[in-house]
């Protein structure tokens, strides 16, 4: 068994539309290569319309027209067997879904069926992959809920009877009851307030450690990544622009976009003027030439406008796609002071 559970190679996935003879192509995922190891939390950050949701749609094998995989492969390794979800048949994917590959979704209210009791929803999702029924199934679910600090009573409740935090714990329960090896978490805490958010995050983290699962954690909130992820990858305009261990990404970022994301976080105890990034995310139907970040980049030179920077390895586990990565400095003085001490 190798260390890597997921290998994405040269993945290109586009939305291809053809209305009245006018062809339109949106390059939502453009040439992404990355791996996820067993027993790690890989954080993906990026703003809306950066293609991060499209990317995880491919990872979750939820590819529907007009969205198509144009090139590349997404290979999972479950129980020593390799499966490429871009070419696998419906039945092959059906066999791994929930049991090996599961998904924690964003809005807990729209995920849970409002007219079905939670217990029924658990049956709908998990009874088949677990191969249990009746009392054995119920015992298994109750034991799992106890692990999430939920009483067995929630099985008889309807979603609207539970608070937001409890509902989110129920969706985590649904995603983890079959002990999957790979979990995709799409902004699982965005709608929650700070106290509950922290509780839910530590729950995801604990259960991941306990099961030894790999988790892809998607959110645009960098402070969540700081506390949950082992490695962080930044997606900008459909491309992976930087990837590295969490600590290095925060204290020694090597891409101007990452440096900006980290520096723009306000902190209690610091009222110095925070920079805001001007401009807007590029239109993926018509992305800029060369490096896609150059119109907003403070370091941009002529080369950036003409040539696409490759994602090159610049340290252990650290890759960046920037022609001028050696000139990228952390923008924030507090971080710089802490970081030098931390990295050295």
């Amino acid at each position: 068994m190798t260390q890597d559970i997921l290998k994405v190679e040269g993945l290109k996935a586009y939305y291809q539309m053809n209305y009245f003879g006018i062809e339109r192509e949106v390059r939502a995922v453009d040439d992404i290569t990355m791996t996820v190891r067993r027993n790690e939390v890989y954080g993906i950050a990026g703003e809306s319309s950066s293609g991060k949701t499209s990317f995880i749609k491919v990872l979750a094998a939820a590819i529907r027209p007009p969205f198509r995989v144009v090139d590349g492969s997404v290979k999972y390794e479950f129980n020593g067997r390799t499966i490429d979800v871009t070419t696998a048949s419906e039945t092959e994917i059906e066999a791994i879904r929930w049991k090996h590959l599961s998904y924690i979704m964003q809005g807990s209210m729209s995920v849970l069926n409002p007219v079905r009791r939670i217990g029924k929803t658990f049956e709908d999702f998990a009874a088949r992959p677990l191969g249990l029924s009746g009392k054995a199934f119920r015992d298994r679910v109750v034991a799992h809920l106890a692990r999430l600090n939920l009483s067995p009573n929630v099985l008889n409740a309807y979603p609207h009877e539970l608070s937001g935090g409890m509902r989110q714990r129920v969706t985590i329960g649904l995603a983890t009851v079959c002990h999957p090896e790979f979990i995709i978490a799409d902004e699982p805490t965005t709608a929650l307030d700070v106290v509950v958010q922290k509780e839910v995050l530590s729950l995801i983290r604990d259960i991941q450690r306990e099961m030894g699962a790999a988790v892809i954690f998607v959110t645009h909130d960098m402070s969540v990544h700081a506390n949950v992820a082992d490695r962080v990858g930044i997606i900008y305009a459909g491309r992976l622009v930087e990837e590295g261990p969490t600590r290095e990404m925060f204290f020694a970022p090597k891409h101007p976009y990452t440096a900006h994301l980290v520096a723009s976080l306000p902190r209690i105890g610091d009222t110095s003027q925070r920079p805001a990034l001007e401009g807007r995310p590029p239109n993926l139907a018509d992305p800029p030439q060369g490096c896609r970040f150059h119109p907003r980049c403070p370091l941009a030179v002529d080369k950036c406008r003409r040539e696409v920077p490759p994602l090159e390895t610049i340290g252990k586990d650290h890759r960046t796609a920037c022609w001028r990565w050696q000139d990228v400095k952390p923008l924030d003085h507090v971080h710089r002071a802490n970081g030098q001490e931390a990295i050295a």
């Binding site: 703003e47 809306s48 319309s49 937001g164 929650l192 307030d193 700070v194 106290v195 509950v196 958010q197 922290k198 509780e199 995050l201 530590s202 983290r205 645009h220 909130d221 960098m222 402070s223 969540v224 990544h225 700081a226 506390n227 949950v228 992820a229 082992d230 261990p245 969490t246 600590r247 990404m249 925060f250 204290f251 900006h260 994301l261 980290v262 723009s264 976080l265 306000p266 902190r267 209690i268 105890g269 610091d270 009222t271 003027q273 925070r274 920079p275 805001a276 990034l277 001007e278 807007r280 995310p281 971080h335 802490n338």
Partner: protein
Amino acid sequence: MSALLEVSNVSKVFSMGGLLSRHQVRAVEDASFTLEADRPEIFTIIGESGSGKTTLARMILGLELPTAGEIRFRGKTVSHRVSRAERLEFMANVQPVFQNPFEAFNPLKRIDRYLSSTARRFLQTSDRAAIDRAMDEALVKVGLSLAEVRGRFPHELSGGQLQRCAIARALIPNPPLLIADEPVSMVDASLRMAIVNLLKSLRDDFGVSVIYITHDLATAYYISNRIIIMQKGRIVEMGDARTVLENPEHPYSRLLKASVLSTEDAGAGKLATDPEMVRTASALAGAERSRLAERPDGRLVRVYEGA
């Protein structure tokens, strides 16, 4: 010194349930504070979901009537049960900005149409040039211009730009007070600071007071002058934002501060919250006899009798 907005002993009770299982929810309990007219400030209301912060904002906007107490804007009681002209005059002075800009704008209508109908209504003119001028002035204040926005549909702008348009719309009648209900929680991290900096410049450069409702303590610390922290409808701590957030005294305020995810120790994976803190804070939510006590540094903290 005259008061711009006075909120005195305001409570709001909602009755829930059917005839037989009727119970009451106290959404806001005995809230009081005053905003001065000649000192623009950013006044922040912080609390978790269900703490009553949005109900309070809706009462200030006159969309709900308080069950007890009174809200006065420039000495006049705020209510929606007044004549059309009076209501319009109030609305020209107090304007809202909502959470999700994509929901606030009709996706099928051009953005400038929205802005021009606001201008026509509040300036009470149908002169094209005057309306265009008002729109442009408001858009320039938020760092956009009419030329950029004219003819565009909401989906053509980013969330940050659209939220700025929403703020520009609110600025058209030159209101002295803006009510911003979680204006940045739906905006991307990279654009969030642009909105927060904008609110700051509205206060500093244009003298607009802002009631900023949020659950994000970090941005609150960054821009606010004064702050109130609400727990289950009750104000538990109130005072100067820096003083309160640097050293919160009430157990609930302390819990909120402890729950902010810090990036100082990124990668260390520290996530545990002290369960004792959660217990102490939630025990106080239901406590019966309590009052706000003043501290030497000027803040008000809720104290509990018999605790």
